[in-house]
């Protein structure tokens, strides 16, 4: 795996940046090389934001992505912006609770999933992005569920470990969309 790349994009405040970081942590747990790079719009708060995660077996080139293997979009402007940045054969995952359009491209795999609904069902809106990571993992195998779980244990402070089961549940729900 050389420079496998994921873009996560949405509004500020949706947890895009930390979801990206969790993906990178999971891959790191597998001994991969990883990089994470944030990007903000001109708005001070709210507005759009995105981050790029690259996973590789070798030293990573650019942490900034021009052609992504996967784009995960949590709002419509992001989808409009990043649909064309996906490599042919790549994957587009959207939160269909928030984005109601379809991609124009046909050379990519399109996975709409109602991530926000799942999250509100699970009682924690932060789980929306987690479920999308589950989908990412299942669809591309860029990191495994086990690595995700193990990295969660490492990264979360002890006092927040009670959240792990919820996270995994969200992860699994998301994964089911990619099966």
């Amino acid at each position: 795996m050389i420079d496998f790349s994921v873009i996560l994009a949405g509004f500020g405040g949706q947890g895009i940046l930390s979801a990206g970081k969790m993906a990178a942590e999971a891959a790191l747990y597998e001994g991969k090389e990883v990089s994470w790079f944030p990007s903000y719009g001109p708005e001070m708060r709210g507005g759009t934001c995105n981050c790029s995660v690259v996973i590789s077996d070798e030293a990573i080139g650019s942490p900034v992505i021009n052609d992504a293997d996967v784009a995960i979009c949590l709002n419509q402007p992001s989808m409009e912006k990043f649909e064309n940045s996906i490599k042919p054969g790549g994957v587009l995952i959207i939160d269909s609770s928030l984005v109601h359009i379809k991609p124009k491209r046909t050379d990519i795999r399109f996975i709409p999933m109602n991530a926000s609904d799942i999250a509100s069902e699970l009682g924690n809106m932060a789980f929306a992005t987690i479920s999308m990571l589950g989908c990412l993992s299942e669809a591309t195998k860029c990191f495994s569920r086990d690595s995700f779980e193990a990295s969660l244990r490492e990264v979360l402070p002890e006092r927040r470990h009670h959240l792990i089961p919820g996270n995994l549940e969200a992860f699994d729900k998301g994964a089911s969309f990619a099966k």
Partner: protein
Amino acid sequence: MAIVFERTTGLTDKPFHYCPGCTHGIIHRIIAETMVEMGILDSTVGVASVGCTYNSYEYFSCDMVQAAHGRAPAVATGIKRSLKDKLVFTYQGDGDLASIGTAEIIHAAARGEKICTFFVNNAVYGMTSGQMAPTTLLGQVTTTSPFGRDASYQGYPINVSELIAQLTGAVYVERVSLTDYKNVMKAKAAVKKAFEVQMSGKGFAFVEFLSTCPTNWGKEPCESLEWLKEKMIPQYPLGCFKGADLDLEVKS
């Protein structure tokens, strides 16, 4: 029915990029309205500074010059000296004016430079993500005073209006807030008076606005206005520090 309130032509059509509830927007608007109401939009040059409002030049519809961080009063001096019959104002945050631009504002005031400065004190560096400003309150948590501002380590807040009022060249100095209708109207009157002072050729005019930064204060917008009232005003009392009774026959 007649329109009693609409967006002023002193502002362009471009929506502000500021955070929800940030009172920078109100200050922009009342300055813009005042220029229109006084009929000076066409003869004013504004100076934007560096801070969240770095691109306020896209919002004000008068001619606008963007200045380096803290240097707006120097830039305004350059403009005003070469355009003596025009009006010039600077719009500056507390990091910009009270920290890196300390020398520039003190000396513009001391020179009695015939400009207006609109100083937005939100007790924090907004744009660069919430660092301590010279106006940050004791005990206030910021990204560079993570355990609360401690006087013995980080020093004391600076009351800028009081300091500027010490300088002979500063002839009008007032501190206002934007917490409610009445205060917004007072703030607007202060803006008008500042321009009038400039027109009178009497000297330097300074208006300090206590403003919110919901994002970096980590508070909801309405909560922020409350915090401003409860915490900021005791440290930074509102009122006119100089020039309350200026005789402003406008020179023609």
